[in-house]
Structures are given as structure tokens and as C-alpha cells.
């Protein structure tokens, strides 16, 4: 499939050529200097640089510079050593033992050891702290320091996603001394073991870091064993797209992320700039029809609704060819994604859609909107994110296509908390969303009532699907596990619990002087090897 080939090319550009060298690859790396990154942090004024308590993907792009993880996710989606040298898993897969590096220091001088790791994991599972990263550890119930650099982890039941989740920024390792010292203020005083240490911030606009001179423990995927090359690394939050690109063009910053599609041609044609992009591991942005609410509890009507939506045309129009349309719930590079299996699995057919509505007794009223027994065929789309990633532009086009077959759609903008409340109560017709994730187990959090995550509430009550996802979370053998997820994804699409829309590519525009920046397998940024050419 074209989609697949496209991603393989992109992955090749990201990993084979990584770190990005461009035409200056011949020049050998230099140390020193300050690199400034303009990132899209939206209008969020409060920076919460606590990996266990961040819900916000943009802040996770900063975490990789401050915090390290226990293990690293490789490009082939397998897990390699990082702060853990090695690990053993018991035959019943309920006990993990991690052997840790013994030469790792936090930025505050305290030592990383089994006790420090225990402190971190205990904090995440502590119900009184209620960290946002709780779901990442699944059924972990206890941790035990077996030796100064050896930690045992006990699970209530097997949990296949554990290692991949441990590679996530959300389980970055924080200094226990700093958590004790700052309490909730750790988010504004981050202390990790990463290649850069925190020096200060201007709330809402800027995060300043400097090189950690002690750094000797990069992930096993890194080509540089010592400290970072840059003296200083600064992240500037520039929420306005055009300004972010302009700040790069003016030379005020050397890197700008999430360049919108209408600027991509400019970046590509500029001799001083380069563009790199890579898929962000996540659940593809999808529309979710509420299957518990009449008349959409009828799968035929959900199918009819989907037949009226021409996803290809929408994605082409909104993203100008810069993003591929999505077929599966999981993004193509994620382990067990069904993108290949599901590609071409259905075709838009507005006429058939209209026929289905007719046969179910929904006839056009005077205003063109279908109705039955006095009830109109109207959908309310609830949204709290605004036009991030041009998602509302997508919904506007969906609205127009649905109007043609007599279904009305209105966009209801809500505040975040109200949206969560309404979704929890099942008080919505259709919503949309995506979640960044490291493991296909994210499907369980979205689609299975048992693990439903409050921010990804989709009212699906399907025992067969929940059962598949539960089995898959416990299954350790990769091929068997993959087969379960393929079945689960097919069911999600067949039952129209989700209508996947686009595959997000995280992109970076770089000035020609910015070298050696790596986008890792999650789609997050590593600046450890980065340097500035003359």
C-alpha cells in the first residue's frame, strides 16, 4: 500500500540517516553553543515538567532532555537497555527483576539506585498521589529493592505492555530527593538524570536547560556515550503556527515543530531550512460515534453514517497531501497496527448510505434533514480542543458531506472538564480524539470499560472486544498477541466504534546549522547528540 511505503520511507529517513546530517554530514560534530527550539505548546501557561503527571504531549517533547527511562524503545518496536542494564521475567510473568546501572547520578547529585527506582514506581501506583501515569503500570502491585542496584516488580497478573510502557516519557525517572523537597512543585523544578539539567523557566513561554556534564548513560540506541554537545538548550512555547515558522526563518530559533501543511512547501524550497517528519506513535485521530445512544446503537446506521464520509477527500483537502489517511485505530508504525489489513476495507458510498437511512424509516423532512417519528437525524459533535491539528476543519468537511445525505451535525465547543463529564455520562452523539501511546494496550483504555481512561472515554460496551483486548494484554508471545490486536482492530472498524481519519506525522523544520537531532521511536525529541555547525 502507498501508505505503508510512505511510512517506510519516512522511517528510513528518520533512522537510517539519523542523526539528521543533511549536506553537512561530512563535517564532524562540534561542541558548544545554544540551540533554541520553538514548540507548539498551545496557550497552556503552566508548564508541568513532572513526567508522571503530565497529560500534555507537547511537554513530553521536553522531557526526553531532562529525564531518562529504564528502557528504550527501538525503531523496530522492541525494547533495549537504558538505566536498566538487563532484566529477567519469571515464567508466570508476574515477577520482573531489573539490574540497574550503578554509575548514574541525578542532577542534584543524588544517586540513581534500586531505592530511587522504587520511589518512582511507588509514587506512580500510589492511589493517594493519583498520578496521571498510573495506567502505564497496569497491574503492578509491589516493588522491592533486592540489592542496591536490583529491583523486583510484582504484578497481580501478566501484563505484556509493561516493558514498552517503561520506555515512555510518562515513566521518566525523577529524583526522589527533589520530589521530597518540592512536592507538587516538582513540575516547575524538574530534576532527572537526563543529558540536560533544568536552569529555569518563564511560565508559559520558555524552558531553559544546560548540559549535564556528568552524563555517561545514554540509551543503548545512542551513538554518543558522553555528555551532550550543546552548552544550552532552550524551548520556547510559540503557539501561533505562522510565528513559529517566522521565528525559525528569522534565525531567532534553530528548530520549529509541528509546521502546518500550508508552510511545508516554503520550508522544503528554502535552501537554509530542512524538514524532517516522523509518525507519532498514537491512536490515529478518529471520530467516535456513541453506540449507546439511539439511533446510533444500530450498527447499520453507524455504517450508513460512515458510508457518507469520504475520508480520503477530507484528509487531502485539509492537510494538502502532507498527511496520509488512516484506516486502523492504531498508527501504522505501532506494534500490531492493522493499517495494512484494513486499508481499503470500505469505500464511501453516499447513495447506499441514503438507501440504508430510507430503509430504516428515516425520511427527509422539509428542511432536508431526515426524521423519523418527529425525531431529527442530528448529531452533536462535542469538542474541547479547538482547531488543534486542524481537527475542526476536518469536522467541518464531515458536516458538509453528512448534510448532503440529510444528516445534520453541529459542533458544540466545551470546556475540558465539561467534555469529560459529558463523555463519562454518555451525553454526546459523536466526538473525536487521539492518544499518544507506546503499546497497543492503549486500545483497552479507549474501548474496554474495565480500563477506560477518563480522558479517552468512548462509550463502547462490547464484551467480545473487551475480551480480545484483555487476552492481548496478558499474551506474551508477539505473534499471538499481534493476531489478537488485529482481530480487535477489525472489530472496532467493522462495528464503526471508530472512524479513523489521519495518521499524524510529527514534523520539525530545522535551520541548516542544527545537526544531530533525533526523533525517537515514540516520535519524541532527543537532543543529546545535537550540535550546531558553523
Amino acid at each position: 500500500m502507498t501508505t505503508r511505503r510512505r511510512f517506510n520511507e519516512l522511517l528510513a529517513s528518520a533512522f537510517v540517516a539519523a542523526p539528521f546530517g543533511g549536506s553537512l554530514a561530512a563535517q564532524s560534530p562540534r561542541s558548544g553553543g545554544e540551540l533554541t527550539v520553538a514548540f507548539d505548546g498551545a496557550s497552556i501557561v503552566k508548564f508541568v515538567l513532572d513526567p508522571h503527571n503530565s497529560l500534555f504531549a507537547p511537554h513530553n517533547r521536553v522531557f526526553r532532555s531532562i529525564y531518562d527511562s529504564l528502557v528504550v524503545l527501538r525503531a523496530d518496536q522492541t525494547v533495549g537497555p537504558w538505566l536498566a542494564r538487563s532484566w529477567e521475567i519469571s515464567p508466570d510473568r508476574r515477577h520482573y527483576v531489573f539490574d540497574l546501572r550503578d554509575d548514574v547520578l541525578f542532577h542534584d547529585g543524588s544517586r540513581f539506585d534500586a531505592a530511587a527506582l522504587k520511589f518512582n514506581l511507588d509514587r506512580v501506583i500510589d492511589p493517594n498521589v493519583a498520578t496521571y501515569a498510573r495506567g502505564e503500570l497496569g497491574p503492578v502491585v509491589a516493588t522491592e529493592a533486592l540489592a542496591p542496584h536490583r529491583l523486583g516488580v510484582t504484578l497481580a497478573e501478566p501484563f505484556a505492555p509493561l516493558l514498552r510502557n517503561l520506555s515512555s516519557t510518562k515513566l521518566g525517572i525523577v529524583s526522589p530527593a527533589a520530589i521530597t523537597k518540592y512536592g507538587e512543585g516538582i513540575g516547575q523544578n524538574p530534576v532527572g538524570t537526563g543529558p540536560f539539567r533544568f536552569t529555569g523557566l518563564a511560565a508559559g513561554v520558555e524552558i531553559r536547560l544546560e548540559r549535564n556534564p556528568d552524563y555517561r548513560w545514554p540509551p543503548s540506541t545512542s551513538t554518543l556515550s558522553g555528555p551532550a554537545r550543546l552548552d544550552r538548550l532552550t524551548f520556547k512555547n510559540v503557539p501561533e503556527h505562522s510565528t513559529r515558522v517566522a521565528a525559525l526563518q528569522s534565525g531567532q530559533v534553530q528548530v520549529a515543530d509541528l509546521v502546518p501543511s500550508q508552510h511545508l512547501a516554503t520550508i522544503r524550497s528554502s535552501p537554509d531550512l530542512r524538514l524532517v517528519q516522523q509518525e507519532l506513535l498514537n491512536t490515529n485521530y478518529a471520530l467516535f460515534v456513541n453506540p449507546t445512544r439511539a439511533p446510533w446503537d444500530d450498527p447499520d446506521l453507524r455504517r450508513a453514517l460512515r458510508l457518507a464520509i469520504d475520508v480520503d477527500a477530507i484528509v487531502r483537502t485539509v492537510y494538502l497531501g502532507s498527511l496520509a489517511r488512516a484506516w486502523s485505530p492504531l498508527s501504522p508504525s505501532m506494534f500490531a497496527s492493522a493499517e495494512q489489513d484494513l486499508a481499503g476495507s470500505w469505500k464511501p458510498d453516499p447513495k447506499q448510505a441514503a438507501d440504508i437511512f430510507e430503509s430504516k424509516g428515516w425520511r427527509r423532512g422539509a428542511d432536508g434533514v431526515r426524521e423519523k417519528a418527529g425525531k431529527k437525524l442530528a448529531l452533536g459533535f462535542v469538542d474541547a480542543q479547538g482547531n488543534r491539528e486542524q481537527r475542526l476543519d476536518v469536522v467541518q468537511l464531515v458536516r458538509r458531506q453528512l448534510a448532503k445525505i440529510g444528516v445534520s451535525l453541529t459542533i458544540e465547543s466545551q470546556s475540558g472538564p465539561l467534555l469529560v463529564q459529558r463523555q463519562l455520562a454518555g451525553d454526546y452523539d459523536i466526538s473525536g480524539g487521539a492518544q499518544f501511546a507506546d503499546d497497543p494496550d492503549v486500545l483497552r483504555r479507549v474501548f474496554a470499560p474495565e480500563a477506560r481512561n477518563r480522558l479517552s472515554v468512548v462509550q463502547v460496551e462490547d464484551d467480545q472486544l473487551a475480551d480480545l483486548l484483555r487476552k492481548a494484554a496478558r499474551e506474551d508471545e508477539p505473534e499471538a498477541r499481534k493476531a489478537l490486536y488485529l482481530r480487535a482492530q477489525r472489530r472496532i472498524v467493522d462495528e464503526v466504534y471508530a472512524i479513523p481519519i489521519y495518521v499524524l506525522l510529527y514534523n520539525l523544520a530545522l535551520s541548516s546549522s542544527a545537526q544531530g537531532i533525533v526523533i525517537d521511536a515514540h516520535g519524541f525529541l532527543h537532543f543529546h547528540e545535537a550540535w550546531l555547525s558553523g
Binding site: 496557550s43 498520578t131 495506567g135 472538564p417
Partner: protein, 305 residues
């Protein structure tokens, strides 16, 4: 004058109190439960309930309102629902950038508004007048975010004179202040022009000229003083426009500021934070208007009587 000032200060207090009450009611009746957002995605209902209890967000309206007013009387703005930090600290961190911006934009608006208005009036009907009026019309009809992007493209990308984003340095203030200042400068200049033209036709101007006074003295010592009074009043109102326009300008130029703080607080139903920011904006707006009234009385002694 002192009695007048005291009276006015009292009315400022009443207006600010009214504004706070109004915002409190609006936010209270806004649907949504802040505890949901604070709790995070994996929290169970019990945790949400605990948080709701801690925030006091489920108490009856009167109890919450009285509690807030009593704390406010003790100069306690409370703590943010979403972050648990003192509201005062957040305001102290974000407000200076907004005040710096509004002050610079205000000065620019005053200087350019009055200057251009006078030049335009003196040259009424000639090309200078037309040039000023048409460019003012052009700027007045330009949305600030678009003007901001154009400025960045010219001065940061093409000429590389000014930094595109951030706040703190003087160079970082130039473009945002210009952008925001124009919002107020355009109506001000048109008002000054109209007033000067009108005053130039007053009988007392004919008398002054007949007395043999030079054209400069007529214009600057007498006509302008008369023409300025209404313009000053309007400027007080425009302060409010600039405070609200700051939200957009702060976003375009990636600056710190109250605007973004307030937008975030309202979105997350963070009542104490939204109230704190509103309170501050109301105080600034009222003081701005008080100052313009005082200046008005100085310019126009007739008001005293």
C-alpha cells in the same frame, strides 16, 4: 479635588466589587466540574470526590461566594483549582508582561493618535490628510493577529531587525506594542482630527486670530487643548480594549501575559484564578479611567465648576 478623588476611589471599589461578583456568578453557573480535570485520566470516582471536597467546588453558591469575599477582604486571592498554587503568585508572574505591553501600546497610541489627528486636521482636504486617513482606515480594519504576522515577516524574517517572539527585552516589545497600540491609535486619531476641525471653526478661534496671535499658538495653546478633552475620555475606554486585545497579541508574539492566563482559567473552570485575573484587569481599567478623568479636569477647567 481631594474630595473628588475620594469619591471616585469609592466608586472604583464598587465597580471592582461588582465585576468580581458578576464573574463569580458566571463561572459558577458555567457547566462543568473542575475536579474532573484536576483528578486526571486514571483517577477513580473516590479520588474525584476527594478532590471536589478539597476544592470546595460542590458547596452551595452563597457559601462559596461569601467565603471568597471574606478571603478577598483579607487580601487572600486563594489558590488555583488546577495547580494548587497561590493565585497571587501566578498573577505576579504573568501581569508585568501585560502591563509593560499595555503601557507601551498606550503611550504609542496617545502620541501617534494625537499627532496624526492634528496633522490630518491641519492639512484637511490635502494629500497628507488623505494619506493619513486612508492608512488609519487600513490599519483599523486589519485584525491584530494578521498585522502581527505581517510585522514579524517584515522586521524579523526579511530585515532581521527585531526578535519574533518572547518578552523581557525592549526589542521584544516594539512589534507587539505597535500592533496593540494601533487598536487605540486609529479611533483616537480620527476623533482628534474631527475635534480639531470643529474647534478651528469656533468663534473664539476667529477672535484669537483677529487678535493677531500666530497660527502655531492658536493651534497648540488653544485649539488642541479644547479638542483633546473628548479624546482623553475615549482613551480611558480604549484601555479596556487594549487589555482584551492583549490576549491575541500575546499569543501571536508568544509573550507571557494575563490574557492567556485568563483564557486558560476560564477553559478549565479554575474559578479562583479567573477571578484573580479579572479583579486585576478591573482594577487597572478603573484606575486608567480615573486617571483620564483627572487629566480631563486638568485640561478642561470648566468641569471643576
Amino acid at each position: 479635588m481631594i474630595v473628588y478623588l475620594l469619591q471616585r476611589l469609592l466608586s472604583v471599589a464598587v465597580v471592582v466589587y461588582g465585576a468580581v461578583t458578576l464573574i463569580f456568578l458566571i463561572l459558577f453557573w458555567l457547566p462543568g466540574d473542575p475536579a474532573e480535570l484536576v483528578a486526571g485520566p486514571d483517577a477513580d470516582p473516590a479520588t474525584v470526590a476527594t478532590i471536589r471536597d478539597r476544592l470546595g467546588a460542590d458547596k452551595p453558591l452563597v457559601e462559596q461566594y461569601l467565603g471568597y469575599v471574606v478571603r478577598l477582604a483579607h487580601a487572600d486571592l486563594g489558590v488555583s483549582f488546577t495547580t494548587g498554587e497561590p493565585v497571587f503568585d501566578r498573577l505576579a508572574e504573568q501581569a508585568p508582561a501585560t502591563f509593560e505591553l499595555t503601557l507601551a501600546a498606550g503611550s504609542l497610541a496617545l502620541a501617534s493618535g494625537i499627532g496624526l489627528g492634528v496633522v490630518s486636521a491641519v492639512n484637511a482636504g490635502r494629500w497628507g490628510d488623505y494619506a493619513i486617513r486612508s492608512s488609519l482606515l487600513l490599519f483599523a480594519s486589519m485584525p491584530p493577529f494578521w498585522l502581527g504576522v505581517l510585522l514579524i515577516l517584515l522586521f524579523s524574517v526579511t530585515l532581521r531587525w527585531l526578535p519574533a517572539v518572547g518578552n523581557g527585552a525592549a526589542a521584544q516589545l516594539v512589534m507587539p506594542a505597535f500592533c496593540l497600540g494601533l487598536i487605540a491609535a486609529c479611533p483616537l486619531a480620527r476623533l482628534v482630527r474631527a475635534n480639531v476641525l470643529e474647534t478651528l471653526h469656533e468663534p473664539f478661534v476667529v477672535a484669537l486670530r483677529g487678535k493677531g496671535l500666530g497660527e502655531r499658538a492658536v493651534l497648540y495653546r488653544h485649539v488642541l487643548r479644547n479638542a483633546l478633552a473628548p479624546a482623553v475620555t475615549v482613551f480611558g475606554v480604549l484601555t479596556g480594549e487594549m487589555l482584551s486585545g492583549a490576549v491575541v497579541v500575546e499569543t501571536v508574539f508568544a509573550r507571557q501575559g494575563l490574557g492567556r492566563l485568563l483564557a486558560e482559567a476560564v477553559g478549565g473552570k479554575d474559578i479562583p484564578m479567573a477571578l484573580g485575573a479579572t479583579l486585576l484587569a478591573a482594577v487597572v481599567f478603573c484606575i486608567g479611567n480615573l486617571l483620564t478623568d483627572v487629566v480631563h479636569r486638568i485640561i478642561d477647567p470648566r468641569i471643576e465648576s
